[in-house]
Symmetry: C2
Subunit: 351 residues, 2 copies
């Protein structure tokens, strides 16, 4: 994008984000986002890895997730309020900001509810390219809420998945999901149980909203060679996979110190081996090494993924897709903020 | 303010903030803000006191400053880039957000460069009401940059200061400051040295942009009974006051763990006594106890002050002073984010 004046910040609304996604094309957007994610995972070591700053309350959590590569700074505001759904509100809403490290000035403010859904799916698909069997074509999705379709199309677009098996404790969610994917040319089956759903699946995505330690997927359900894409277990006390299943799998994570607390591996000892995914992308560690291996991407979401998404959006933006926000006071003389205020007084009586 | 729809977030631009300040009146705005600050300082113990999350770089720092009282959540984004001034940019630019803890939904997004200048001045004046001599009328301001006029009018409006003595190493800054305050009915003297500036002052405000450990104010300059309002020393390695002067003063701070690192008292042992200001307001500790005492408010700025400012602005807002931002995706069915995206597709070819 061309640079607007320093005192205005380009703002991408939900409406403009959706227009941008459609202008690029959903599949191309996921592929482009995936390329930015790969680039940032490969240079993982240059990033600040501050823990997310969480404010917990009875109903949920509000988090700030910042990071920086030394040139750009990004952060995401995101909430997680499971009870919101009962009131017709999103359980997760997010927005984000990209700023210039050199001057501290914000460069982009954007909705990130839609963008997070896409970056989560693109991250899952990126991991699966290194961890699933190359011939994987059948994906089970357990939990058919807001993230399910994004996972499906990312795996279709980026891995060539062509058969989908859906299961949700609420069948209407599976029906919604299948209907939304109707024109994607996927062979879709709605299942009556987790067991039925995972049977014959090469890739198993768990993305339920369960808040407690749940066993969405038990050890006996998963056969040799499967790749498990664990997306739903993403905070302390929230897991989806049976402990015994973890012990059979080779485990890959985003940022180990965070995943030890928030991921499936919170069920395991603190020194249990797990590989940070960026090392696989950078060639420093193997991904899948055999067809019979069970791999698990224990994904909790990390600030660097949001950074990649912010960076991608910034690079795709043209003025047609943003508004200019008058967010930053910009006095002619930086020492004269008060003079700026006084000169803004109404010409009549006023102040 | 009346509640707009849940998916739009009221946004107060710099222009609207200045209009709001003038509509209320600068003095009344400072007084109203001061009342909110007092209320929040008195209930200090209910707040989250997370340390600010700072991202340091060669040129400066970008910080996120969140807090919550359990009902509302607020955070401020603020940078500090001293070299910006040379390029005609603000050294400090800020914006902030207020959110509902119960749902996690943002309720207000606002510029905070202007608002921070006012809250800093209102906080200083509030502290001085408890720490300066009741008959204090003469204020010295050392450092006549962007914050100086705000300090002057807050102390005039809230404490009855009527004589001002200005000093800056750059005399044009003092001239700018005096000119901006021309119509306020203050007796203003521009001084040639710090010594001249502080002579006869009841209140000494230090608010320079010096980045190193500097001795803006030395022990021998300050007489009995003075109140020192130390605003400029606000990060590790940045101080303004001579150590010997600190040893003669009774020291009051915002949040001790933060001030130990960022304030003037970083020059003193970690167990050196200092009183958190909220305790004085809550009646749990004395403020000034004698006319001869030297008091110091070692101010570094704390997230709760921004929270008070956000809360005050929210309560003053009418639709004339905000725009509505389409920041939050709001599908009819919270589980159907993807359907919302698909329905936004252009009706012709598009995606």
């Amino acid at each position: 994008m061309s640079a607007p004046a320093r005192n205005v910040v380009p703002f991408v609304s939900v409406d403009n984000m959706m227009r941008l996604i459609h202008a690029i094309g959903v599949d191309a957007f996921l592929a482009g986002l995936g390329a930015y994610l790969e680039e940032d995972f490969r240079r993982w070591e240059v990033f600040d890895k501050t823990p997310r700053l969480a404010s917990h309350s009875r109903n949920g959590v509000i988090e700030l997730m910042p990071t920086s590569d030394g040139t750009l700074y990004g952060f995401k505001y995101v909430n997680g309020h499971p009870r919101n759904a009962a009131q017709g509100l999103q359980t997760v809403a997010a927005f984000g900001l990209l700023a210039d490290v050199g001057s501290g000035y914000p460069m982009l403010l954007t909705e990130m509810t839609m963008l997070t859904a896409l970056r989560t799916a693109a991250t899952s698909a990126m991991a699966a390219r290194y961890l699933a069997r190359p011939d994987a074509r059948v994906m089970a999705i357990i939990g058919n809420g807001a993230q399910a379709e994004f996972q499906a199309i990312a795996f279709q677009a980026l891995l060539g998945v062509d058969r989908l098996r859906l299961y949700d404790i609420d069948r209407t969610a599976s029906i919604k999901c299948a209907r939304n994917l109707d024109e994607r040319g996927l062979d879709i089956m709605i299942c009556d149980s987790t067991q039925q759903c995972v049977t014959g699946a090469d890739i198993i995505t768990t993305v339920t909203a369960s808040k407690q330690r749940a066993v969405i997927l038990s050890d006996n359900m998963v056969g040799a060679g499967a790749h498990i894409n664990g997306v739903g277990g993403d905070c302390p006390g929230k897991t989806e996979l049976q402990r015994e299943l973890l012990l059979r799998a080779d485990i890959f994570v985003e940022h180990l110190p965070q995943t030890r607390i928030e991921g499936e591996i919170q069920q395991l000892p603190a020194d249990y081996p797990a590989t940070e995914l960026w090392r696989v992308l950078a060639g420093a560690a193997p991904g899948r090494t055999s067809a019979g291996q069970i791999t698990l991407f224990d994904s909790v979401g990390f600030a660097i993924e949001d950074f990649s998404a912010l960076r991608y959006v910034r690079d795709q933006l043209t003025p047609a897709f943003y508004e200019e926000l008058d967010l930053l006071a910009d006095p002619d003389d930086p020492r004269d903020l008060f003079g700026m205020l006084m000169r803004a007084a109404p010409t009549a009586a006023g102040a």
